[in-house]
Structure formats: C-alpha cells, structure tokens
C-alpha cells in the first residue's frame, strides 16, 4: 500500500491506483471531463491537472491517468494547480464559448471571459469538444469501432468510417449517452419502436454493468461460460463418469484459467448480436486437428463453453485439446455437444458394466476416459456407420436396444441412462437438489436446464426448503425463462451480470431490477405499459399451450416427467461410498435410521426409497401450483383462466384424458 496525501486528508492505496481514484476514495474532489470510470484512463482534456510532490520533485500531472507508485502529496488547491486549470479552461471557453459543461467549469474556476480569440471558435451549444468519450465507450465498452477521430489539430473531428452511418452501429446510444455536450443525436430506429429512448435506456443499464462489474462477477466478457467448470467442481456439481460423481482432481486441466492462458486467442468478442457487450463467445484459433476428415488442418473453433467442458468430464476425459477437437467436429457435423457427451458417458458406463464389449462396439475399447475411441465414435456418428450408428440413436433408444439385443438389465439402464422425454441431460449433477431434479424432469422439451436452474437456491443457499417453496420456484423461473424464448432474447444478460446492489433487494434470485428493465423494453417497443406479472402471464399461456401440445403428442403426463434415478441419488454402491458421510447423515437426520446397523445394500435401498418418494411429492406440489391435475395435465379451469379454452378441440382432448373441469 502506498500513501497519498492531499491538503487535509491521507489515504493508502494499491500501487497503480490513479490519483483520481485515490482522491475519490479519500473524499477529495478533482475536476474531470474526459475521464469516465467505465473507461481506461485517457488524459485528453487536461482539466484534471494537479500539482504533486514526489520526494523533492514538484510538478503538474493529469490526475486521471497518473498512477501512484511511490508516496505522493497532491495539491488540489495550490496556486500552480489552479493557474493551470484556469489556462486550460480559458482556451476551451475561447473555442467553445456556448457549451454548458465548459461554462460551468470555467465559472467554478473563476474564468469569466477568455483573454484571447480562438481561430476555430464554434458557437454551438452542442459543439463536440473532442473529449473522446464516445469513441472510447464504443471501442472499449461495446467492442465496436463505429466511431473514430479523423484529422489532426484544428481539423480533428469525431466521425464514422467514410462519414456514413456504419452498418456495425446497433444504435445502442452509449455514445450519445456519455457525450457531455449533446453533440450526438440518434436517428430513428427502422423498427419504429414506440419510445426508442426508453429502450436505449434499458439497454444502457446492462451495458454499463457489463463494463463495470463483469470482471468481478462472472467474467463472461473474458472467458464466457467456461468459468463454470471450476465453480461446479468446487460445489460437487461437475458431472464425472456419467454423473456418478461431482468433482475430479483433474478438473483444473479443463478449467477456464487454463483456457484463458493457453487457448483462447481472440482478443475481440464474437457476440451473437452486435450490440451485446457481454459477448461471451470465445474462440481458439490456429488449432491443428489430429483426427477425422480435416486432420492436419489449422482451424478456428468456437468455444468451448461450459456444457462442452462438463460433457468431457462426464466422459472422464480431462484433456483440453481433446475438448477443442470434439467441439470442432460436433460443430462441423451439426451434432449437439451435450447430447453427444451424455450419450457417450452412458455408453462408457455400459461398457464398464459389461453391457457392452469390444465385440458389440465394433472393436472399440470404451471405458471412461477413452478419448481416442470416443472421438472415433463421433466420426462414425457423422458418417452413419459402425458403432456410431448405435450411439447416434440417443440414450432412450439405446436403452431399449441394449435390453432387447443384449439382454441387459432394463431397470439398471433406466437408472443410469440420463435422459428425460428422450433428450439427454445437460451437464450438472442434481443429486442434492430436489428442485433441480424437477427442473430437468418436468421441463417440456426434455432434460435441459433452460427452464430452471435452481441448484444454488436449493442446495447451497437452502432458500427453498419446503415442497411448496420448491414448487413456487418451479413455477416462477420456468415461466420467466420461457419469456425470453417468446421474445427471442438471450437470458444471460438477465442474471450472468447483476446490479451491484442486487444482494440487498428482496428476492435477489429474480434480479428484480433487470425484470423491470425488460418491462421497459416491452413498453418502449410496443407503447403498452407492462408489469412483471404481465410478463409471467404471457409465458404461462404459452407454457400451458406447450404442455397441452405435449399431451396431444403423447408426452404430457406425469408418467413422462419421470427421471432416471442417477439424477436423484446414488445408483451403485460405489457411488454411495464416494459420498458415504453425506448419505449416512441423511439416513440419520432425514429418516431417523441408524446407518451403523445397516448393510451397504440396505443403505442404498433406503436412500433410494426416500429420494424417489420426495420426487413424487415434488411433482404433486408443482402440479398443484401450476393449476394442473395430479396427472400433470392443465385443468379446464387453468385453460380458461389463460384463455386457452378457445382452442379448437381442447375440451375434447382434456376430456379424453379424464379432465372435465
């Protein structure tokens, strides 16, 4: 720590802190103009000039970009400081006499009329004063280069490439918003929203949070979702060996610091939408492929993201280059990395359990961690040949096939085959979060977590202890998240960056300030005021419609919300043993049993019974909260409340499933 002294205050700061930040921390005011906390120090206007003493040496420096490296005394009111500021302001006033900010600062500094005339005098109230804030927010904050300086000296000005509106400009208005003089005006949006300014304002909130907070929050701008690998590993949630375990000592090898240091090369983000400054897509460049049809080629690979990395640990593979190769080929072949990885993890467990063998896999050895064989299966899947043809069927069909063809134990395959409604699970271990088991099991399109991710609320925070609490969460969050789908919006800016004070509000998990922001978006677009509850209602209509659609297609009842037991508890004795302390404790505390007096098989069985029973109770509570029957079908009353009863054939469909009111 280094001491910084002001006229009447002292403070200690980290080396490298700028004088402006030190002053702010000490409660000392230094005038600034071209400085902004969202941006890197720049030092264009020199308004922040202050006299300093470092040892014997006294001189004037610009406070906004002067880093503290040794003890320093800052004279914010010395004659030399004041004189310097006055001269700068005099020149500015001579050049831009009508600009409000300059007039105000000049007045404060005691400058009335400049003593000289400026050759480039500009009489506009909204003249550009060349502070560069707009150029920098566009480049540093939004990662665009829509604005730039052109020319030097008196001809210097801010412009767009070739003086035309750049196609890269998304109209985010960050430049107009940050401009201190009003020199930038926005032209109308071609979509003709009802209130463009309101939309821009809502967007600016998140843009600003991304710039100011992301580096201390989720690092989405820097490593994207890959940061979840190390976190999930710490919380026993990273799937290892087909979800048997939740952590692994080698997880570090595929963690985000490793990718950041060695593989992620793109300095610029690759956002899905130009205006998004979260821009969480990361890429690996110049990667030499080791296998497959493109072997030996150097390629760019988009990713890997968390799910791809978690899928790899789920197969027991912890080789970062293997993940990149797999990521490349899944993308190239058009195969989902999650379904591939989860299906392979199932296959590997089947191999280790003796359900599969080399004869059945076309000669491939496929225990957990068999990286070379696993990538070979991926190529075969794409070619539609060999054992790849079998894996390409997906887990649901493989279970049936293995039971019929190889006489495997169907119940065991059901326990370890991680799919629901035919879709492979995404990459989280859910054994200790009942709510998330429901999140996967009840989800309309199968076992994905886009409807609800409740693991921290439930398992770590213990915020939703009762069945009713969990049911409420399984009502609100799926409805809320469905709303993003209805509007074609990405949900990451909702909760992968959060307002600084989010921890202090009621119900922080909902990120209420951001929900209000979405209301502003809707109102700004349509001209119709909406409240958060209105958004939920919009989703509820669609969600129930989808459930009814599922019913019609043969997937919309309680029997379809079943989950493989692996997602609810330990299937095997090995799994139980790996977390024995936890499970033994639960037998004692939750069920009043004495684990010391029980055999391992008895303990596994008792744990299972308790957990399966809880899942059924959860379904009861969720169906009730959603206004569904005990069989998981929307009641006629629910359909009416949501205006769905107008749908042709609805009453008949419900009646055919025994729902009459």
């Amino acid at each position: 720590m280094i001491e910084v002294s002001f006229e009447d205050k002292k403070i200690e700061v980290e080396p490298g802190t700028t004088l402006v930040d030190a002053a702010k921390a000490a409660g000392v005011y230094i005038t600034t103009l071209c400085h902004n906390e969202q941006l890197e120090p720049y030092g264009a206007c020199r308004i922040c000039s202050v006299e300093i003493a470092e040892g014997e040496r006294r001189r004037v420096v610009t406070a906004c970009n002067y880093p503290v490296h040794k003890p320093v005394t800052v004279f914010t009111k010395s004659e030399r400081t004041l004189r310097t500021r006055r001269v700068i302001l005099e020149m500015m006033l001579a050049r831009w006499p009508k600009v409000k900010v300059i007039q105000n600062m000049a007045k404060l500094a005691g400058v009335e009329e400049p003593r000289f005339a400026h050759p480039d005098r500009n009489e506009s109230e909204n003249a550009c004063i060349l502070c560069g804030l707009c150029v920098r927010i566009c480049k540093e904050g939004l990662w665009h280069n829509v604005l730039a300086f052109e020319g030097r000296g008196p001809t210097r000005k801010v412009t767009q490439p070739f003086g035309e509106i750049s196609p890269e400009c998304t109209g985010c208005s960050a430049c107009a918003d940050i401009c201190p003089t009003g020199a930038i005006t926005m032209v109308d949006d071609p979509n003709h929203p009802a209130d463009p300014a309101r939309i821009r304002k809502a967007g600016q909130v998140v843009t600003r949070e991304m710039i100011l907070l992301d580096h201390q929050q989720a690092l989405m701008r820097i490593v994207g979702t890959a940061h979840l690998v190390e976190i999930m590993n710490d919380y026993d949630l990273l799937p290892v060996n087909n979800y048997k375990f939740g952590d692994h000592p080698d997880a570090e090898k595929i963690s985000s610091p490793h990718f950041r240091k060695k593989y992620f090369t793109q300095g610029v983000p690759d956002a899905c939408y130009l205006g998004c400054n979260m821009a969480c897509t990361k890429a690996v460049e110049g990667f030499e492929l080791k296998t497959g049809p493109d072997q030996g080629k150097f390629v760019v690979v988009d990713g890997p993201e968390y799910e791809t990395l978690g899928g790899s640990s789920n197969m027991g593979i912890f080789d970062p280059e293997w993940v990149i190769e797999m990521n490349y080929y899944c993308d190239t072949y058009g195969i989902d990395t999650i379904s591939y990885a989860t299906a392979m993890a199932f296959v590997m467990e089947c191999y280790e359990a003796g359900v599969l063998n080399q004869e059945r896999t076309g000669g491939l050895e496929l225990p957990f961690g068999a990286a070379d064989a696993a990538i070979e299966v991926l190529h075969q899947m794409a070619e539609g040949e060999g054992f790849g043809l079998t894996v390409g069927l997906g887990i649901r069909r493989m279970k049936k096939l293995f039971a019929e063809k190889y006489d495997a134990d169907a119940a065991f395959l059901q326990d370890i085959g991680m799919e629901a409604k035919g879709l492979e699970y995404s990459e989280y271990v859910t054994k200790e979060s009942l709510a998330q088991q429901g999140g996967y099991g009840i989800a309309l399109k199968g076992a994905q977590h886009d409807e609800a991710w409740l693991i921290f609320m439930d398992m770590v925070n213990k915020q939703i202890p009762s069945f009713e609490d969990k049911a409420e969460a399984l009502h609100y969050f799926p409805m809320w998240r469905t709303w993003f789908g209805l509007n074609g919006l990405c949900k990451l800016p909702w909760n992968d960056v959060e307002p600084e004070d989010n921890g202090e509000v009621d119900e922080p998990a909902k990120v209420p300030k951001h929900v209000d922001g979405y209301c502003n978006l809707v109102a700004g677009m349509t001209g119709k005021e909406v409240k958060p509850a209105d958004l939920i209602l919009q989703s509820e209509r669609v969600y129930n419609f989808q459930r009814i659609f599922n019913l019609k297609m043969g997937f919309g009842k309680r029997e379809h919300d079943v989950i493989p037991y692996r997602s609810a508890g330990p299937v095997t004795e090995e799994e139980y043993q790996s977390r024995a302390e936890r499970y033994d404790g639960q037998l004692k505390e939750e069920q009043g049993l004495d684990p010391a007096a029980m055999s391992l098989a008895e303990k596994v069985a008792a744990t299972r019974q308790w957990r399966e029973d809880r899942y059924q109770k959860l379904l009861d509570a969720v169906y009730k909260r959603r206004g569904w029957t005990a069989d998981g079908i929307p009641t006629l009353a629910t359909a009416k409340r949501l205006g769905l009863d107008q749908m042709e054939g609805l009453t008949e469909l419900l009646a055919a499933h025994g729902v009459k009111e």
Partner: protein, 66 residues
C-alpha cells in the same frame, strides 16, 4: 462451539473470519452476498470480520440460472 452456515452446523473456532469460512466451504462462486445474523456484510469487510460462536451466517449465492 458451532455456527450455522446456510442452515447447517459448522465447527467454530476462535478468530474465524468470513473470508476463511468462504474459503473452507469452497464457496468460490463470485456472485454472492453474506449476511451475519441478518446483517449484510460488504465484501471488503470479509477479511476483517471475525465470527462469534453461535453466529448465523447466510451466504446467498445470487445465481438462478446456468
């Protein structure tokens, strides 16, 4: 000699700070808020705040979505 951390008992010892507790519990997720006996303790104070025997600590992880 215990404190409650998110409703579960945790062994307390003299001098245990919030920062140490977070470390030991491996609460590495960055978006979180800590309350001790209902009062929010800002992050810069985690290193200095010493927990007392019997304290109720809530470490609220502010993520509701993967």
């Amino acid at each position: 000699m215990a404190i409650l951390v998110n409703g579960e008992s945790y062994a307390w010892r003299q001098g245990l700070t919030i920062a140490q507790l977070i470390d030991e519990k491996k609460f590495s997720f960055p978006l979180k808020t800590v309350f001790v006996n209902g009062k929010r303790i800002p992050k810069p104070e985690h290193k200095k705040t010493i927990l007392a025997d019997g304290d109720e600590v809530q470490v609220l992880h502010l993520m509701s979505g993967g």
